[in-house]
Homo-oligomer: 252 residues x 2
């Protein structure tokens, strides 16, 4: 197991290592990445839409999210990110940011120059694959959210989101899939799902009334995972969780 105290980049290593088996040399190379540590307060943005992103940003702790803002000021949250996520590969590799990355809670980050990321990726194939695949999983989540926003009704969307968050938080070592702390307002959940805060509230009430979950002081407890998953049409396949993926890669 990788000790967090070894290096500020340890969360990154942990995540890459889940996705691909890395050699000692790979480990060393990752930890040797040049970086600048920073703490960013809640609500402050890491990168803004339209800016040139020269650095990529490793999230070491806290929660961040991606957002896009429409012409008339409405906000769409595109995904959330937890410890270990390379939260701005998308923007920095594409040069001009097409969306913003914002801190939901206070976060600790490490900025890494994009060239260093690319050099590392192509010098160490396993690392490169793990990183590339991570960006593909991001894409898969975007597709799922798009499908929710486009095709599912409000109740299903909310239930789906809470299932996803459960698995994501558990994977990142923050609670369990059915019991986790979620520091998000209903307004925020609305911007994730394309609903208003008022309607999110009503859908949560409906789910609570059916005994599927409780929410108190920012803690979500899912009382009936199977029931909530059914209500949310939730199938974890799209998350491409590492355990499944690595298993698949051992086969051939």
């Amino acid at each position: 197991m990788i000790d967090e105290s070894i290096s500020p980049l340890a969360p990154m290593l942990r995540k890459l290592d889940e996705r691909r088996t890395l050699s000692a040399a790979d480990h060393e190379a990752v930890l040797a990445l040049p970086h600048r540590l920073e703490t960013i307060p809640a609500h402050r943005s890491v990168v803004r839409e339209g800016e040139v992103a020269t650095h990529s940003c490793l999230l070491r702790s806290g929660i961040a999210f991606r957002q896009k803002v429409t012409g008339d000021g409405k906000r769409q949250i595109c995904s959330i990110h937890l410890s270990g996520d390379m939260v701005d590969l998308q923007n920095s590799l594409l040069w001009v940011a097409d969306h913003s990355v914002v801190a939901l809670t206070p976060i600790k980050v490490a900025f890494i120059p994009r060239e260093a990321i690319l050099d590392l990726s192509f010098a160490h194939r396993s690392v490169g694959e793990a990183m590339w695949f991570d960006t593909l999983v991001d894409g898969s989540v975007f597709r799922e959210w798009l499908t929710s926003a486009g095709q599912r009704n409000a109740r299903t969307r909310v239930a789906h989101l809470l299932c996803e968050f459960g698995l994501r938080f558990e994977q990142a070592g923050l609670g369990t899939a059915s019991n986790y702390e979620l520091p998000m307002s209903q307004e925020f959940l609305g911007d994730c799902t394309g609903l208003t805060a008022v309607h999110v509230n009503r859908m949560l009430r409906s789910l609570k009334d059916e005994g599927l979950l409780t929410m108190t002081k920012g803690w979500v407890k899912i009382l009936d995972w199977a029931g909530l998953a059914k209500a949310g049409e939730f199938d974890r396949l799209y998350l491409h969780l590492p355990e499944n993926q690595k298993a698949a890669f051992r086969k051939p």
Copy 2:
């Protein structure tokens, strides 16, 4: 310029070359990729959700699209793809397909083993970067579609989609941004935008009535690009078109 007659993989080379300047060795390596050619009729799927995708699929001609189907049978189109696109990198690299890829028109494809793609990418960094970045652009388009589905009203969504298609078709050498052939039913456009065919019809009528465009026999003519772009809140940044990107990379 790259001659299509050299190899069936020429469209791929053209596209990669737009994104990164490739050496002669890079060219050779791309064209040397093992592949199996196939022609697929309209409506037939290339990969189905849940299948293991061992091959990646280069689209040589025709139009393909990605779709996800919800529990109650509704369909979300996630993106469309044109000549030169590696239409199934997302699925094949992630192993188990989380969405389907379907032929909209009859298409010509070349199936390439995923291992060959990966070997090439990591042996030839420019090729690898071009390919990785292409998957990131796909992600950017997903985010934009998500934003449309979640936050924009029906009229804006339809106008936005037609602007995007214009630029995509022009980029692929199929017509111009304001005059292109679009072999899609209104039902299909509805599944792209999360609307019903009936409402797509009404929104198109509204856009036509304002003199922004005409649609006859599958040909879209945009009479007032600026007007349509405004109606659709359209900003091309998210497409990360090669000309802008390559220019950015010459700078540093």
